[in-house]
Amino acid sequence: MITIHNLTRQFSNGKGIFDVSFDVKKGEVFGFLGPNGSGKSTTIRHLMGYMKPQKGRATVFDYDSWTEQAKAREHVGYLPGEIAFLDGMNGTEFLDMIAGMQGKKVKEKRSELIHLLQFDPKTPIRKMSKGMKQKVGIVATFMHDPDIYILDEPTSGLDPLMQRVFIELVLKEKEKGKTFLMSSHSFSEIERTCDRAAIIKDGRIVTVKDIHELQSMQRKIFDITLHNLEDVEALKSSSLSIEKVDGNMVRIEVQGNYDEFFKELANYHVKNVSATNQSLEQIFMDYYNAEEVPR
């Protein structure tokens, strides 16, 4: 549904995207991961036809995203990363305008979405909070029932409850066979919905991987608090990778070997467990440049 082939655009400051290639298949939820300024939005802007590729091409629904941009966009629901609405309208007026431009009957789905996201669309846009604007944007993106969704950091500004509602919405659309390209800088956001993900850094694709593969690559840090110090000593001599010991607390690094981790821990009295996710930056540091990972 989406193919990007050797897409290149260099800006005057030397940044840009270089030879970006990947494809998104029908019915797939594809994550597009990278830190801020890595080229996610630039890639998406090419898909929407806002920029002309210097090299390479992108197609959406088999239409060239530059030369046939209007046809390509007909099948797309787009949620921009930075939402900037027009002045002097309320949410309903904005949604009416977009619906008219989309040229499809949207009434039913629109009220469904508004009900789901729980906001008052009659509020003037300039009085809306960031989260509320994001909700209006989500309604505009989903209401015309497109085949392809291109979402640039869709959950920014939403509270955790609404993030969950949004993820359910994505999964529901996915069941209907819709295709998604979703950018994010947070791995945990992507891992709940995506099938595959591309990681981009400094404008270049680092890897395109199955999400489970990425998950197994991800190291997780567990802080285990044990009852007594003898157990701590015993744990230290196990085969698990121990990062740090602080009194009764042992910090263990787990990368895929959860089975071993749990079997070992079953031998002790555990008082408390807390887990911290490895940041995205660290994940592809692991992938990209293993020797630089700070220990």
Binding site: R45, M48, Y50, K71, R73, L86, I98, G100, M101, G103
Partner: protein
């Protein structure tokens, strides 16, 4: 052209269109209501204006005040009309494209199947509709006031008054044309505003300088404003068809260029 976008854009710009339109109509009516008084004291006024240098009189079209047509052309259409419509054209043209690109809202207008060319054509239509509404209010206000307040012997023929307004509309059809072209060329709202406003001011200044200093009359040839001479239209000294065709052609060219530029450029959205 996208009807939904047009509707919403008209709604967003309606207040500004109406305030420019009403302000200028009220001004025409006010000036018209002053005419009988001026006409009664024409001798004294002419004595007064004799002390002005000829060039200055020519610049402001003060050579003769005898008829209402000449009076309103000099006092309004040669001066405030140009300011009001000039400001409206530049401001609205910048708001319709450059501002939306600069602030990022254009991303939404270009997120549907409506093509770039269609968006540009819609925004151009909004600008032209605004100009038509303002000129219509001018014409209607001036005409109604003229009918009610001016003695028949002085009154301007409706045809001449219509021509003054019509050529005035075409002048700003052209000004709006290059303004919206600048609007589609620049990423930065302020740059676009400076370019469109600067060119408009330059045109106005060249025309003025050419009128005041007779040695510099050739400067007027560089300015689009020299094509609009309401006092001469009132006297019937202007080939209205030719001037109209030139202004319309210039404007049309600019609008076509606007669509072509907007279709092809990279947008920082």
């Amino acid at each position: 052209m996208s009807p939904s976008l047009y509707k919403q854009m008209m709604k967003s710009n309606f207040k500004s269109i109406m305030s420019f339109g009403m302000a200028s109509a009220v001004y025409v009516i006010l000036m018209t209501s002053l005419f009988p008084m001026i006409s009664d004291n024409i001798d004294k006024i002419q004595e007064l204006t004799e002390i002005y240098p000829d060039s200055l009189m020519k610049a402001f079209g003060l050579e003769s005040f005898g008829t209402y047509g000449e009076f309103i052309s000099a006092e309004y259409y040669g001066l405030f009309f140009l300011f009001i419509l000039g400001i409206f054209s530049v401001m609205t043209a910048i708001q319709l494209i450059a501002k939306l690109v600069d602030r990022g809202s254009m991303a939404y207008l270009l997120s549907t199947k409506v093509s770039r060319a269609q968006v540009a054509i819609t925004q151009i239509s909004v600008l032209i509709t605004g100009l038509i509404i303002i000129i219509f209010l001018n014409f209607a206000g001036g005409y109604a006031a003229g009918e009610l307040l001016i003695d028949d012997q002085y009154a301007i023929a409706m045809g001449d008054f219509f021509q003054i307004n019509f050529v005035g509309f075409l002048l700003f059809f052209a000004v709006g044309g290059y303004s919206i072209l600048f609007s589609s060329l620049f990423n930065d709202e302020k740059m676009a505003f400076a370019a469109a406003g600067g060119v408009t001011f330059l045109f106005y200044a060249l025309d003025m300088a050419g009128k005041i200093v007779s040695d510099l009359e050739w400067l007027r040839n560089l300015s689009i404003f020299s094509l609009y001479e309401p006092a001469k239209i009132a006297k019937g000294d202007v080939n209205v068809v030719l001037v109209s065709l030139i202004l319309f052609g210039l404007g049309l060219l600019m609008y076509i260029a606007t669509v072509l530029v907007f279709r092809r450029r990279n947008l920082p959205l």
